[in-house]
Symmetry: D2
Subunit: 259 residues, 4 copies
Amino acid sequence: MTQLRITTRLDYHFPQPSDCLLQVEVAHGPGQRIVSESLSTTPVDDFRRVPAESGLGTRAWFGAEGSWQATYEAEVEVTRPGVDLAALPATPSRLLPGDATSYLMPSRYCQSDVFLPFMASEFADHRGGALAEAIRAWVHESMSYVSGTSDATTTAADSFMARQGVCRDYAHVVIAMARAGGIPARMASVYAPDVDPPDLHAVAELWLDGLWRLVDATGMADPSEMAVIGVGRDAAEISFMTVMGAAELRSQEVEVVRA
Amino acid sequence: MTQLRITTRLDYHFPQPSDCLLQVEVAHGPGQRIVSESLSTTPVDDFRRVPAESGLGTRAWFGAEGSWQATYEAEVEVTRPGVDLAALPATPSRLLPGDATSYLMPSRYCQSDVFLPFMASEFADHRGGALAEAIRAWVHESMSYVSGTSDATTTAADSFMARQGVCRDYAHVVIAMARAGGIPARMASVYAPDVDPPDLHAVAELWLDGLWRLVDATGMADPSEMAVIGVGRDAAEISFMTVMGAAELRSQEVEVVRA
Amino acid sequence: MTQLRITTRLDYHFPQPSDCLLQVEVAHGPGQRIVSESLSTTPVDDFRRVPAESGLGTRAWFGAEGSWQATYEAEVEVTRPGVDLAALPATPSRLLPGDATSYLMPSRYCQSDVFLPFMASEFADHRGGALAEAIRAWVHESMSYVSGTSDATTTAADSFMARQGVCRDYAHVVIAMARAGGIPARMASVYAPDVDPPDLHAVAELWLDGLWRLVDATGMADPSEMAVIGVGRDAAEISFMTVMGAAELRSQEVEVVRA
Amino acid sequence: MTQLRITTRLDYHFPQPSDCLLQVEVAHGPGQRIVSESLSTTPVDDFRRVPAESGLGTRAWFGAEGSWQATYEAEVEVTRPGVDLAALPATPSRLLPGDATSYLMPSRYCQSDVFLPFMASEFADHRGGALAEAIRAWVHESMSYVSGTSDATTTAADSFMARQGVCRDYAHVVIAMARAGGIPARMASVYAPDVDPPDLHAVAELWLDGLWRLVDATGMADPSEMAVIGVGRDAAEISFMTVMGAAELRSQEVEVVRA
């Protein structure tokens, strides 16, 4: 069991009235328990929480203008057990539940259809957890963690060619490969200690042996120390802030420490 | 009220044992009532229905090998009222429910983020239903319906440049533009009479004034005569058949007549 | 020495008056001697030959309308010696002549910049002819020759992901990799016997040890039996026919036999 | 007649021995006369000038390691007359010379094939100079000059969607549209006063009425005040520095003043 103390501070400026979608609060979900939490923001219009993707966690809509700050603080107990990924058995696709089935399909940044030939040629002999572990190892070894080489348009295929990127890009390649290999895969935004520089972190989550399993090919964080905020098909669906209109991000600070 | 009689016949050959995901059955949902229906197929392994995207309709998983045929027959009453799209008021994004919020994000074929500058320059003055109608009209007038010019890799941005395509491509451009304009948008696979050549049809569905509204920019079909099978972010999520492995489609026949 | 007898027959229909650029005539160039040749076409306007890329061979401009046929017949002696690619020494980039330098840059279908990371990770230890041979072998072994899986928009990066294609796609991947590895590379359209189905053939040409060397990663044809028509950066520059306007290709027949 | 005084200073660090291709010297060519010039650099290996694209200007190869600086100074008389672009007559494609023909084809960043439908729908009634002027005006009005929004992978199609970019991107869109409209088009790197911030500038060059015509859709510079360094199909072929290996650009200063 790990206890995490999380502090997130955001400072934005919205030149015009803008509707915003914020997703920074830890989700109530398997393997993690929220001991305490609080979110405080500059007064806004119509602050409303709506369920996030797959019903895990929430997003908050609100309207804001001008200077806007928010502070989120939480204490979370992570009880997610360690798992030997490689030992998990494969599930035939036809036995997948509906929610896992959704995460087999290609998405904005994870065009898994494009990875089918590579998977067939490199990993034809692997299935289930052994395949998941082979993918994680391939991405970990083939890619280099380099900031500033990818942006909001970079896809898994781009990152596969570039062989470099940040956590978002590592996760995209893992997800695209997993789906192409028949394993449902999604992306999770998480808080974790030791992320360097300290920031929100993004990892893959693969459906294996009946449960979703967090996989971090960067090697920066361990699932037993991750507090999940939300999940989605890829980076397009787990953004911590989406602004309908112009916005200036003045500062964003994330601190995650073991309690 | 329109009564539709639908017959779909599929004939496949699977050289190896393959897991398949079939989505051809009409959904129980708003604006349509299934009077009678039957699905019969060559015997398969583990035939299991799972909920489809947004809980609308079902997909069916099964395992098959060798020659496989299916026949789906249904009689459906469509009671969906006609709607004056242009008259529908706009909803501020911050008041969107969670399910609609999901359909604001870019997806595999509808990279709405890429359309933001075009929408800002062409449709800055339009909102809500007036924007939806302007998008429908723009796509209807700017694109030509030409078979064989797009394939499974063609995105909304490709179709926007090519200015041609089939129903799938029309719907993708409408969806990408709508999302870029702040309107939640998804894709629906439907049965409709008068589709030429007769086939499964794909249209856009936009969330306006609290409800999802079917929009067919090809002009081939009318929402008051569509029986919806399922919905998804784009063509990646409403495929009538997804095969995990090799497959040969020998024939596919769709007949939709007014009863 | 191989003697080739070449016959090409084209049959087009131009619904409107169109300007056309034809490139089917064998080039006067190193390693091949034109013994006899003739080109006859339906009467056209302003038939004019202009030098083709790198001054090798010619393209012919003309204006045509309605039905148009052409027959090209040639007898060519190919005296191009066989070469042990792997044995050719590397040339430092800084000693490259101007024409070879041009063929180091990325082009429409051969975005060599995208291949730099792959080349650095897979072939860092190879240089010169050994690198060229390693690239040829990799492409030959990794790709499958499958018609109908690529089209006029397919790039080297697409083919690298898809691991399949036709001669055009094989050549594109070889060229993109060679340039990324520091070897000037271009595409040649050639006539060769045993191409199946009989057609114009496209191969890579790499600048090694002071000369251009034809490389066919499909294994279909041997440089000692190729009659080169023209060269260019990629398929965009060696098209056998470019029509400024609408055109219908009714038939295209190519016959190449050893005399 | 304008007299320009040009000073370019480059400061690089090459961590390993690297072969470099430098193109900063003004070309001897139509409309400009080099009154005086000098290039001085840190001592290098094998400094060799080779002809640049289309035989206009030169590129210089050399080998370097560690710290490297260069200073280029030139005084150039520009005698290029002003031209009323819109008044230039159209040339039928079939009468184009070979060199102009080469610049009709799609290239790395200017995939003109993708622009054919847009050109047909927006500019079907324009030809020759009137078309060139319509393209220039469309790009000037539709795009916004914003630094930092494009990078080395951004194509003309990307910029067309994004409707923003820098001089490179403006030129790419003009070139892609011109080729799609049947006008040969290439890119020129130039020195010009008033470029803000001061830097090397990139513009389009269109072949109209028998000559190449410089076109700057950014409106920053006038052809009568441009000193051309070199030309190429697009940014891939006019780079001022190409390094075969790792390089760190420490500083780059360009000053262009009217004498």
